[in-house]
Amino acid sequence: AKYRTVDEEFFEELEEILISADVGVNTVMELIDELKMEVKRQNIKDSSRMKEVISQKLVEIYYGDDEEEIEELQLNEDGLSVILFVGVNGVGKTTTIGKMAQRLKDQGKNVVLAAGDTFRAGAIEQLEIWGQRVNVPVIKHSEGSDPAAVIYDGIQSAKSKGADVLLCDTAGRLQNKVNLMNELSKVKRVIEREIPGAPHESLLVLDATTGQNALSQAKTFSESTNVSGIVLTKLDGTAKGGIVMAIRNELDIPVKYVGLGEKVTDLQAFDAHAFVYGLFADMLEEQEEQSS
């Protein structure tokens, strides 16, 4: 195959591809500068090796100084583990809980769900349907009740059942709503008080179609719930979710899972290599088709 030359035009196109993947203009410009140096250093003339070079740089940005490692859930091996799900409205929290429950069950764990969204119309019923689908108990109060009280009950009930994992749903909220963020801190405090070391994970659910605002989401939710990982949903569409690069880079929060649809099986562990490749693959694949 013939490859195009790696010139100014190549980098311009790469810049556009990455920006259109929501990576964020600052991160993209830094990356392009570094890539230009790399190309010079290695004396690369055509694009045949660029796939590898770009991938490597992106993975480097993603992992920073950390070792590359698969980020698993940090669960309490003997006793109850609590996982708190947080995020803005409509990103996929409740659905992810359904999928995650199945995943944990498949690993032989006993799972309980807590219906901590007492606000949105139909939220409790939605979680109950997921509970029925994957056949796990759902602890709930009535609509409009105190979410912290539901979670408290969830913990007591999970403990008395000898369950392994409690998955806590919460209502979607925009991060600039101070009172709602305080409500979330309260939920977290209740969990901390009931079980030392809990919540074992606070997962921020992010919609892959989200643009630069996701960074603000990650910052503010971290302040109130000390986010330990991200679930990047709706990656089955055309959005690439590139903003998680900046989130990892600036806030050091790793992506743990990706959502790839609405079915119970549509949850996968995050694979950084596959992910970064997806950010720019369109560009290089197009070229290969054109040049072959």
Binding site: E16, I19, S20, A21, D22, G24, V25, V88, N89, G90, V91, G92, G98, F119, R120, A121, G122, A123, E125, Q126, E128, I129, W130, R133, E143, L174, Q175, N176, K177, D207, T209, T210, G211, Q212, N213, A214, L215, S216, K219, K234, D236, G237, T238, A239, K240, I243, E262
Partner: protein, 298 residues
């Protein structure tokens, strides 16, 4: 916040250029670079930004600026004018059918805010226009979607048409219209399931509903936090369903909402309403000029 300093930077650049008796090519270059960054950081689509910057550059070195007595101020005016233009002029109204009921179809990606907006719109029609809407639960896929709409109907004390999750959405829509006629509901608002624009099967379902009920309005509901992908989504929904208007939700957040600009640019369909919260009275008419300022962070 995500956009710290953005407005300041832009203001700085404008400040520098403002008092100038002569605007050089370098001035224009520096200013357009800042504007480009501001727009990209606000999630305006990069293609839209490219075209926009090109137009600004052309006008900035043109006669209106060069021959002006205050060229610096003139350039800034050009930027604001072009942006407001791109965002669209006046607010537009909601359609009224010659023969009732007027049919409104709500479409969009998963989680955008369709069901909530269905309730808000019904509330708006009753409060502002003294109408008597029927809500239609045509989402048979999402767990408890019908329950969600029924709960909203109860809160509003308005009728909700549903046939459970086994029925076909096309049949649901057809029967709902008949019921609206029988019961003298003058508006019918159909809540459809969220779907990806690339899901052929489900997009086809929407086309079938549309052919059957011939909606007077098809509202594309879009989350204001959407990034660069907004153009793909809006273009595809518009191509396949000939959208008549857009509702931008979750504008009560701190997103700049550049998606609004991209959608307007690629579809040329008006943004009719803004969702400003989760409650049923938090729907507002959309103001293009305010949105333009928000996007630039001014």
């Amino acid at each position: 916040m995500a956009f710290e300093g953005l407005a300041d930077r832009l203001q700085n650049t404008f400040q520098k250029i403002k008092g100038k008796g002569k605007v050089t090519e370098a001035d224009v270059k520096e200013m357009t670079r800042e504007v480009r960054l501001a727009l990209l950081e606000a999630d305006v689509n990069f293609k839209v930004v490219k075209d926009f910057i090109k137009r600004i550059k052309e006008r900035a070195v043109g006669q209106e600026v060069m021959q002006s007595l205050t060229p610096g101020q003139q350039v800034i005016k050009v930027v604001k004018e072009e942006l407001t233009d791109l965002m669209g002029g006046e607010q537009s109204k909601i359609a009224v059918a010659n023969r009732p009921p007027t049919v409104i179809m709500m479409v969009g990606l998963q989680g955008a805010g369709k069901t909530t907006t269905t309730g808000k719109l019904a509330n708006h029609l009753r409060k502002q226009h003294n109408r008597n809407p029927l809500l239609v639960a045509a989402d048979v896929y999402r767990p408890a979607a019908i329950n969600q709409l029924e709960t909203l109907g109860k809160q509003l004390d308005m009728p909700v048409f549903s046939k459970g999750t086994e029925a076909n959405p096309v049949d649901i829509a057809n029967e709902a219209i008949q019921q609206a006629k029988d019961n003298h509901n003058d508006y019918v608002i159909i809540d459809t399931a969220g779907r990806l624009h690339v899901d052929e099967h489900l997009m086809d379902e929407l086309q079938q509903i549309r052919q059957n009920v011939q909606p007077n309005e098809t509202f594309l509901v879009v989350d204001a936090m959407t990034g660069q992908d907004a153009v793909n989504v809006a273009e595809t929904f518009n191509e396949q369903l000939d959208v008549t208007g857009v509702v931008l939700t979750k504008l009560d957040g701190d997103t700049r909402g550049g998606a609004a600009l991209s959608i307007k640019a690629v579809t040329d369909k008006p943004i009719k309403f803004a969702g400003m919260g989760e409650k049923l009275d938090q729907l507002e008419p959309f103001y293009p000029d305010r949105m333009a300022q928000r996007i630039l962070g001014m």
